[in-house]
Structures are given as structure tokens and as C-alpha cells.
Symmetry: C2
């Protein structure tokens, strides 16, 4: 097998959820499509990696192509600015948005507390979260971390930090199985767990 083919198959197989056989099928497909269509494909990926940034306030994905970085959640005139949904990763925002149940702001933590891995509150955007809740007139903070042991512990830690500020802190219902990842869950299951959120 030519070295370029070996290298491409290895690179494709390193993507999440792609096995070696699928990687081969994709590589052969790209060869058949020819340089022009591969160029279009790689340009889309390069644009993605070079032009996507995260909102300096909430952490949502934003496009760098605009003169001024604009976040459709923070700057959205139709969003209610008294409810804040807290998620682990920027991508989780889309999973929540798909439910149509939350119309407020977001805050991306960048992960979950994991003391054994050296991830404490300062390694996450928890100080910034406290500051935002203090500054903005937030009435309710919805903790939408994944329903894992760490996700739950992070939720309780956040509740302890935010309750003294007089804000209501809720947790999405774990209608999801323990360990199931938010960005893989069915929209309906996330929708239900948002509606059944409980007081922390």
C-alpha cells in the first residue's frame, strides 16, 4: 500500500467513532473523488479550526470572521437573561438548544471537577461563573453537566457556590442513564430531564 494511503487511513481512523475498516472506505472514497473535492473538504476543516473561537463570556462556539466577536446567546435580544444553563463543553450547548426548552444564557465549564486528575474549580470556568451570576441578574442557574459521578459532584459544588448569592440552582433530571454522554443522548430525553429538573 502506498505510504500516503497508509498515512491517510491512520489519520482518519484516529477520529472518534471511526474504525479501521471505515477509515479505509473513506480514504478510498477520497481518492476516487479526486484532488478538487478533497481540497473543498480540507478547506472546510481548516476554516473550522482557524475561524472558530469560543465566546469570552459564556464559552459557546463563535465565528472569528466577524469584525467583533458576537455570541448569539450572550447578545441574543430574544434570550431571557435571568436563566443560565451550565454545561461541560461548548458542544453540549447544541444538545440543549435542540430541545427548545431553554431560552436563556449559557456557561461552559470546560470539564468537570476531578481532584485525582488535578482538575479543581480554578481549572474550570467556575470563578468566572460565580462572577457572571453575581454581575448579571440571574434568577436560576440550571446545572446541565453529564449525569456521571463527576458531573453530579461538580453540580453540587456549583450549588454551594451560587446559593449564597440568592440564586435558585437546579439540576437537569437524570432521566439519562448514569454515564451516558449528553451530546449523544436523544433530544427528547434531554428535553424531559430539563423539564424535570430538581432543586439542588
Amino acid at each position: 500500500m502506498p505510504p500516503e494511503l497508509v498515512a491517510a487511513i491512520e489519520a482518519i481512523a484516529a477520529l472518534p467513532g471511526i474504525g479501521r475498516r471505515s477509515a479505509m472506505r473513506i480514504a478510498f472514497d477520497l481518492v476516487r473523488q479526486g484532488p478538487l473535492r478533497v481540497k473543498n473538504f480540507t478547506t472546510a476543516l481548516t476554516d473550522l479550526s482557524e475561524h472558530i473561537a469560543t465566546c469570552s463570556r459564556c464559552g459557546a462556539y463563535v465565528s472569528r470572521t466577524h469584525e467583533r466577536e458576537q455570541c448569539s446567546y450572550c447578545d441574543g435580544v430574544r434570550r431571557s437573561h435571568d436563566t443560565l444553563c451550565i454545561v461541560e463543553q461548548s458542544a453540549d450547548i447544541y444538545a440543549v438548544e435542540n430541545t427548545g426548552e431553554h431560552h436563556g444564557l449559557y456557561h461552559v465549564l470546560g470539564g468537570v471537577l476531578s481532584p485525582l486528575d488535578g482538575v479543581g474549580p480554578d481549572e474550570l470556568k467556575i470563578p468566572q461563573l460565580v462572577e457572571r451570576v453575581r454581575t448579571l441578574a440571574i434568577k436560576e442557574a440550571i446545572v446541565a453537566t453529564n449525569p456521571s459521578v463527576e458531573g453530579n459532584a461538580t453540580g453540587h459544588y456549583i450549588a454551594d457556590q451560587l446559593k449564597p448569592l440568592g440564586v435558585r440552582v437546579t439540576r437537569i433530571a437524570t432521566g439519562l442513564a448514569l454515564g451516558q454522554m449528553l451530546d449523544y443522548a436523544e433530544t427528547q430525553a434531554i428535553s424531559q430531564s430539563l423539564r424535570q429538573r430538581v432543586e439542588l
Copy 2:
């Protein structure tokens, strides 16, 4: 969702065997990996599309980076030059090679006969096949087209062309289910069907 993210997800979802949800997961993963690693990835794909050619004799994938195009099958000193395995696509060669059952030459047709789609013998590399069998001292031609209606019909057409040249023409056994694609089949199944090949 930023337009770059939408475009990248659409481009990834257009790959064979990738659904929208997997495409989103891959796009988010690429964003997290950052521009440098995405650059490595796209370079591997660009190298693939720009440096891969097909051998002018057999149609196998070859690397264009060498001064002179060399085909490891046509030019392989340890390959037996009296047996020729005929496949539909260049990629099918790897499926056959993985069995370790065939140590001879290859010939890629570039498809199968499909009169309704306007694909006749001259649209495939069948004239070149006849010429190669005539020129080289081929003793046996193994037809390894996919076990589809068109693949079988193409095999019979090839047999009619090659038998007058005094060459033995065989067909890999259809231990594979009708309609199953060669490049997705288990190596062992392909291996068995090579061993049980029958006279055409």
C-alpha cells in the same frame, strides 16, 4: 451555530458511512484538537489525493512521489507472473491481498459491465486485459469481481474473451452473499472463496 461549524459538519457527513451525529462529534473533536493537529490531518488527506495515482498497467494504487512510477505487484520480483486476479476497483486489491492466497498479478477493470448505464467493455479496462493476457504468459485469470448480478455477468463476458487465448479462467466462489461488497467482506470469507474458485 457558526457557519464554519455547519459547513464542516456537512462536509464530514458526506463521507461514506458517517451519519450526522457522528459528523458533529468529529467536528467538535477537530475544534478541540486545534489548528495544528487539523493541519496534520488535512495534509495527510491532501497528500493522499495529490500523490496517489494508479499503475498504468494493472490499475493498482501507486505513489507518485517516486521518480519512476513503480507498482509493487507488476514489478514485484517475488510475485508469480502467470496468475492474474481481476477486480473491479483498485481498493479491492487490498481485500484480496489480505487473504494471502493470491501471489500473482492484478488487473483493475474500473467497474462492471452495465449496458443500461452505457458501460460496455470499452468503458472498462477489458481491451487492456485481453492485451495483457495475450502479451504476458498468463496461465490462469481469476475473476474476483463482486458477487452481484453485474459482477457475475462481467465475469462470464471476460471468460468468453480470454478462453480463446488458451488461458484458464476461474471465478472466486460465491461464498459471499449476493450483493455483498468485496471491500467490506471478512478476509476469511474472501480467502475461502479464492480457494473454492470454480472453472468458468
